[in-house]
């Protein structure tokens, strides 16, 4: 390879700037078109043209309402959640040097659910705390608890530590899920409880444009932070001491990135409930495609996460005619086997 070719090969992440918009647009359009009732692409494009560019293309008002208010906002939020959760996985896996780190497995999602439920149902903070703030507090609390537990149980690098932290995550998830159930049983009426249980499994049906106003900045903010820290994330390859020796202010980077992860996860959970395995499946799949360097992994995971969640949402709507499955069921159906695969491969030390 010539020097120039090498340089080009070293900066492949610029390509993603070109691939991402068309792929994302295609996924969003598919998410809008496909559903219980299939809407022709032409109609969708007309409605979007009318809403975004103010063109008068003569579209049916009802179609326009469904497309714009329900499907479009839903697809956008799904994409943002996918991006946010996938990036959370990338960050946690890099910082903890642990192939199994994921906001869902580490109990961060469960903590966020508890926080959200405590605010909405139990009325914690008497209206002064927003749903997202409650979810964030829960997420941070859960992560802190799991981290303390994992450390007390004795960490260290390698697969054994991976096991320890996942066990701690399970303990944390169980605890926070139990707390959530307790809060619901104590404070919610039957109607509320049903709604919450459905929401907890991951559900995008209640999503509107208001949510997108939170989701879009959260996803892009998360992506921006990750891109800013790609070299630092790479530097953790040989551990925290090695990262420090390479000039990374380890403590500061850990705090910023983990807080960002908790915040993004909390935002997503407070809108759509806890959707599992996205942060696990997407980064691992992308490592196969683009390798482990974060310069490529971060943009690739952001894009793939968005597409994956839109696809899961479509499947959740069409799999059983006339019934919408919680999206968490779909991601778990894909994620659990992937989890098993990672365990098996991890045992062989790759």
């Amino acid at each position: 390879m010539s020097d120039a070719a090498l340089v080009r090969a070293r900066r492949p992440h610029w390509h993603w700037g070109w691939i991402a918009p068309p792929v994302l647009a295609a996924a969003l359009l598919a998410g809008i078109c496909i559903g219980e009732t299939r809407i022709p692409l032409e109609t969708v494009i007309k409605v979007l043209g009318a809403r975004i560019f103010g063109m008068d293309l003569g579209v049916d008002r009802i179609d326009a309402g469904i497309i714009w208010s329900y499907r479009a906002s839903r697809a956008v939020v799904a994409a943002c959640c996918g991006t946010g959760l996938a990036l959370s996985g990338v960050v946690l896996q890099a910082l903890l040097r642990n192939a199994l780190a994921d906001p869902y497995l580490l109990g961060i999602s469960a903590g966020a659910s508890t926080g959200a439920v405590a605010v909405t149902v139990a009325g914690l903070g008497a209206g002064a705390i927003s749903l997202s703030a409650g979810a964030f507090a829960g997420a941070v609390l859960a992560f802190a608890l799991v981290a303390i537990l994992a450390r007390a149980a004795g960490g260290g690098p390698g697969m054994q530590a991976a096991g320890v932290i996942v066990l701690a995550g399970i303990a944390g998830s169980q605890l926070f899920n139990a707390l959530t159930a307790f809060i619901i049983a104590k404070s919610a009426n039957a109607e509320q409880a049903r709604g919450i249980m459905f929401w907890l499994l991951g559900n995008l049906s209640g999503v509107r444009w208001d949510d997108a106003l939170v989701a879009v900045p959260a996803a892009f903010g998360g992506l921006g932070i990750c891109l800013w820290f790609i070299r630092a994330l790479d530097a953790f390859t040989f551990g925290a001491d090695s990262a420090a020796a390479l000039g990374v202010p380890v403590r500061q980077v850990q705090v910023i990135l983990i807080a960002a992860t908790a915040l993004v996860t909390a935002c997503m959970v407070s809108m759509v409930g806890s959707i599992g395995f996205v942060g696990l499946v997407i980064p691992h799949a992308m490592r196969f495609v683009v390798g482990v360097r974060h310069g490529r992994l971060v943009p690739a995971s952001a894009l793939a996460g968005a597409v994956f969640l839109i696809a899961s949402d479509i499947i959740s709507r069409v799999l059983i005619p006339g019934q919408v499955l919680p999206i968490g069921v779909i991601t778990a159906l894909v994620g659990a086997p992937a989890f098993a695969l990672i365990l098996i491969r991890g045992g062989r030390g790759t």
């Binding site: 192939a99 090695s242 000039g247 482990v292």
Partner: protein
């Protein structure tokens, strides 16, 4: 003085791991750090390299307290090759060495062809250029060690710190790495176990039980008395008939290793520190 440790100390739950170390490193010299297992060499190196905050005392780089410097600025001056650093990630040799450029890059300062050249040179310097595309997990222990050293070289430091760099290396690569390191126009602090290799350093510092026992020219420091007291070996000095160099030959000492000889009384903490010889 390029690097200065003043009354450096670090302790874990009450036990002093490093205690009251005062050490000066001169620009351009190669300083060898020797001492038995667990004597605090790695801990001291980590503090000198600015990746572990000292519990007591301070480290000065070019006269500036390191505590006032950013991690990045420190890393532009000092590179550390750790004793043990491994990864489960599927990275290539070249990826691993490229990490060495981290302190010189930022989100706004992207990778350049100059960085490529530096990485390529570092790989060639340790004789790993032909393996640049190999995956980390396929490398042997010695090959990994050489990649770690290449990463430190790619960091273009003024001070290179190496924690037992010749571990895992075959004799040819031991000599070529040490030769390479000495030929570099940088200051080197190197922890070594092979005392004959330590003889080639400009100066030697001896650690024992977390304390700096002695420092100075190799001939002055590596004496029969010190070797016997600190390492518990009997040393005899031979002279190479070809070039007149001094070579040490060792026999195990008279004191038993604590814990191995049952029923033998040993000084509780650090038997090496016993001022009076147990037996001669």
């Amino acid at each position: 003085m390029i690097l200065e440790a003043q009354d450096l100390g670090w302790s874990v739950s009450g036990a002093d791991i490093v205690d009251g170390v005062c050490l000066s490193v001169r620009e351009g010299e190669t300083l060898g750090l020797i001492g038995p297992n667990g004597s605090g060499k790695s801990s001291l190196l980590k503090m000198l390299a600015g990746i572990r905050r000292p519990g007591r005392g301070q480290v000065r780089l070019d006269g500036r307290p390191m505590a006032d410097m950013g991690q990045r600025a420190i890393a532009q001056n000092i590179a550390l090759v750790e004793q043990q650093a491994d990864t489960g990630n599927r990275i290539t040799v070249r990826d691993a060495v490229e990490l060495g450029r981290t302190p010189w890059l930022s989100a706004l300062q992207p990778w350049s062809s100059q960085d490529d050249a530096i990485v390529g040179r570092a790989l060639d310097d340790v004789g790993m250029g032909h393996m640049a595309g190999r995956y980390w997990h396929t490398l042997s222990g010695g090959e990994r060690q050489r990649v770690h050293i290449a990463r430190a070289l790619a960091q273009e430091p003024r001070i290179l710190m190496l924690d037992e760099p010749t571990n895992h290396l075959d004799i040819h690569h031991q000599l070529s790495i040490l030769h390479l390191v000495r030929a570099l126009p940088v200051t080197v602090v190197v922890a070594l176990h092979d005392l004959n290799q330590a003889m080639d350093c400009d100066r030697i510092a001896v650690m024992s039980g977390g304390r700096l026992m002695d420092q100075g020219a190799p001939d002055a420091v590596l004496t029969e008395t010190i070797l016997s007291e600190i390492f518990d070996v009997r040393a005899r000095f031979l002279t190479d008939p070809v070039d007149g160099a001094r070579i040490m030959r060792f026999q195990s000492g008279d004191r038993a290793t604590p814990g191995i000889a049952a029923g033998r009384a040993t000084t509780p903490d650090f038997p090496y520190l016993a001022k009076t010889k147990v037996a001669t």
